[in-house]
């Protein structure tokens, strides 16, 4: 195909004007080109022609097969001007409307040049002829005398020369004729003298022309001025009525102004202030949404690499790390007002996966201050979205699953409250001493399903040994004691022979995901009670779990029998609730503040210890060791307190005692899904997770069963 093109080029050159012969042949090949501009093609060909026999193909020429090249394509030439618009609409002032012009001018003038030729028969032509002839007559009048003299001299000479007298007459006649013709010729010769003959032998013409810039037409029409219609009727009574009405209005205003002149001034001033403030606040309110978006954009731009890491960075060095993983620190959330507070609770919002709530308070008994509740979003790490402050330290919080704007909060002074994000900054509902608040700090709150009357309700556990169910009935919190954590075997003798039951201090609890009434309570004595909502005085079971306070208990999100507990006695234990002894025990060398299951796997969990380390375990990979042990906070005085997995993204947030919340990304090793065996499909779903954990448990359980038996 390129060879054929080259042939065509050469053939084109053979012609007298290679440029002209080129385009018709090229046009066949290039007819499929959408660009109709022939001049560029000609230009290309001319360049090719000028380059000699070297094949020059424009880089964007279509590649066609030989068959396609031979294909005959008919082209229809139309007289339309391709640059003329298809329809023109003009504003007609007469009809005051936009009208389409019926006929679009198709004529395109490519070149126009005013010539200087005039037809001979026209007025101007004749006039010019006259001018030239009158000028010629004067000259011949003078020259004819000379020529006649010359002819006479010639005649005399000729007569002198001529031999025969008979020839004289002929000569005379001839001379007479010659004289006549000479006279006749007298007129043309002067003209001819003026119009010198220009031929190739004695005349060369040289001309040049300056560049005439092509003229371009540009037209514009202004917008029609805006007009409105108005109509009315003028009658004498109308005029009269108008005057009367006006007068009445004036009188009314005068009456109003007299008694209220002083007051009005004040009101006016206030009113002006209000309006100006209102205007300001209205304007600010209008800007607030835009400002929020701007803030997020600025944050995104400033922390772009962190966001890229969050989304896309997968630590490849994990392959070389031999099953171990890392936590990549992403953002650090801090607020200057919470610098002295410790993070006491973290919770992700169930609906908005990037929103999380952080509760601030103090664990120190002596240094009790106010508390704060902040909601951050990962999209804006520089400032919290919502800020709530409270009189007492916030110890725990929980989002409602169905109403993601409702939060239940437990305080250090034993109160509980419900915050509504949509409403004001104060808690919508708060318990008080009258309504049965706890007497000790509330360590955990959890929402439950709406009760039979469709009222919202949640549970709270506190050091005063009561587990209380709070129901929101008609805008008030009503409490019901569900269980009192009585410590068996310890009844103190009170005055007058009363037997006081000492109550254990509940420090954490968790409800089963599927079995609604079943829940676990961890206490300060280190025991874990398995309770049911139906039995208010008895526990279903007791686990002698730890030597010190149980800081956190949590059911496995997939396996219905497994739960995990952590304690300040440096251990994390995994249990099967049907078996009294723990399945797995991990000693972490430091008090464990919090433990959390990963939402994506039944065998992954994370624990944070008071030596500022975060441990991530995956039981399916390594049953005895943590996959990742990482120092999260560097300052020695700082201890990390809580950890939570994000339900969707592979990040965890960890809170510490200085009020900072750090967001870390889990490296791929920590998120391993079961590998597909060759030929088998990877199964996904909770069943797989359950099966995975079950397998692990069986390994541990069988010996236990055997020893029991």
């Amino acid at each position: 195909m390129p060879a054929k093109a080259a042939d065509k080029y050469r053939q084109g050159q053979g012609g007298p004007s290679g440029g002209k012969a080129g385009p018709p042949r090229l046009s066949r090949a290039a007819s499929k080109k959408r660009d109709d501009d022939v001049s560029t093609e000609a230009g290309d060909v001319a360049d090719a022609g000028a380059g000699g026999k070297a094949l020059v193909k424009p880089p964007d020429q279509l590649e066609l097969t030989e068959a396609e090249l031979k294909e005959e394509i008919t082209r229809v030439l139309k007289a339309n001007n391709p640059h003329a618009p298809q329809n023109i609409v003009r504003y007609s002032f007469k009809e005051r409307a936009y009208k389409q012009i019926s006929h679009v001018n198709q004529m395109a003038i490519h070149f126009s040049y005013n010539g200087n030729l005039i037809p001979k028969d026209s007025d101007e032509g004749r006039r010019q002829n006259m001018k030239s002839t009158t000028g010629a007559e004067k000259a011949p009048a003078e020259t004819s005398a000379e020529t006649s003299e010359e002819t006479q001299v010639k005649d005399e000479e000729s007569t002198g020369d001529s031999q025969a007298a008979g020839e004289e007459a002929a000569e005379e006649s001839r001379t007479a004729e010659a004289a006549e013709t000479a006279e006749d010729e007298e007129d043309p010769p002067p003209k001819k003298q003026e119009k010198k003959l220009a031929n190739q032998f004695n005349f060369t013409e040289r001309a040049s022309r300056t560049l005439n810039n092509p003229l371009r037409e540009k037209a514009c029409q202004s917008e029609p001025t805006p007009c409105k219609d108005f109509s009315s009727n003028v009658n004498q009574w109308e005029i009269y009525d108008a005057y009367v009405e006006h007068l009445q209005k004036m009188e009314k205003e005068k009456e109003k102004s007299k008694p209220q002149t002083v007051k009005k001034e004040e009101v006016k001033k206030k009113g002006r202030k209000f309006t100006s403030l209102e205007l300001q606040s209205n304007e600010i309110a209008k800007v607030s949404k835009v400002a929020k978006i701007m803030e997020r954009m600025v944050n995104q731009n400033a922390l772009d690499d962190i966001i890229q890491d969050f989304k896309y960075f997968e630590d490849e060095s994990d392959e070389y790390r031999d099953q171990k993983g890392t936590l990549l620190p992403l953002w650090k959330f801090q607020y200057d007002k919470t610098k002295r507070f410790a993070v006491t609770a973290i919770s992700w919002n169930p609906k908005y996966k990037d929103l999380f709530a952080v509760g601030y308070g103090s664990y120190d008994l002596m240094k009790q201050r106010q508390g704060m509740l902040l909601l951050y979003t990962m999209k804006n790490p520089s400032f919290p979205e919502y800020i709530f402050s409270s009189e007492s330290g916030v110890m725990c919080l929980d989002f409602h699953n169905d109403y993601p704007y409702l939060m239940a909060v437990g305080f250090y002074d034993g109160n509980v409250a419900i915050y509504n994000l949509k409403a004001a900054s104060q808690p919508s509902y708060k318990s008080c001493a009258k309504s049965g608040k706890h007497t000790e700090p509330v360590w955990q709150v959890k929402w439950q399903k709406n009760d039979m009357d469709n009222n919202l309700n949640f549970f709270s556990v506190s050091s005063d040994g009561r587990i209380v169910s709070w129901t929101l009935v008609q805008n008030e919190l009503v409490h019901t004691d569900v269980i009192k954590l009585s410590v068996e075997g310890t009844t103190a003798q009170g005055p007058e022979g009363l037997q006081l039951k000492t109550l254990g201090c509940g420090t954490s609890f968790d409800f089963h995901k599927k079995i609604d009434y079943l829940f676990l309570v961890g206490t300060e004595e280190g025991k874990i009670y398995k309770c049911s909502k139906c039995y208010s005085s008895q526990f279903l079971d007791v686990f002698e779990a730890h030597h010190m306070a149980v800081d956190s208990v949590s059911w496995n999100p997939y396996h219905s029998k497994v739960f995990i507990s952590c304690s300040s006695d440096w251990t994390v234990k995994i249990w099967d609730h049907t078996i009294k002894t723990p399945m797995f025990v991990y000693d972490l060398n430091s008090g464990v503040g919090d433990v959390a299951w990963a939402p994506y796997s039944s065998t992954v969990f994370a624990a944070v210890t008071t030596d500022s380390k975060a441990h991530v375990f995956d039981l399916s990979i390594n049953k005895y060791e943590a996959l990742c042990t990482q120092l999260v906070v560097t300052k020695k005085k700082n201890k990390i307190t809580h950890v939570q997995f994000n339900p969707v993204y592979p990040v965890v947030i960890i809170g510490d005692q200085q009020g900072h919340v750090v967001c870390l990304k889990l490296s791929p090793n920590l998120r391993k899904m079961p590998k597909a065996k060759k030929g088998q499909e990877v199964e996904k779903g909770p069943e797989v997770e359950i099966a995975k954990l079950e397998k692990l448990l069986n390994l541990v359980r069988e010996p236990a069963n055997k020893t029991e038996m």
Partner: protein, 106 residues
Amino acid sequence: MADTGEGKKEEAEYKRLHTFPLIRHTDMPEEMRVEAMELCVTACEKYATNNESAAKMIKETMDKKFGSSWHVVIGEGFGFEITHEVKNLLYMFFGGSLAVCVWKCS
């Protein structure tokens, strides 16, 4: 005597109260409105008998000041429906019985 006296008083009142220029409808900017109103009042007082001359005076002055082309109607009883350029209409009563309508439309 008392009656006629009262009648005269009423007339005087009427004249005082009902002859001041009352703007019925306008969408002109403040300055233009004030100028146009004063011009109308002047013209009507000057040519109290001849509405045409008054209208002529108003129209020519408006043309000079605010550009062509203005239209003026002065009368005691008429109905109208006009198209006017936005922000260039003044419709007012004056003298208890005269109505003046001034608008611009090219």
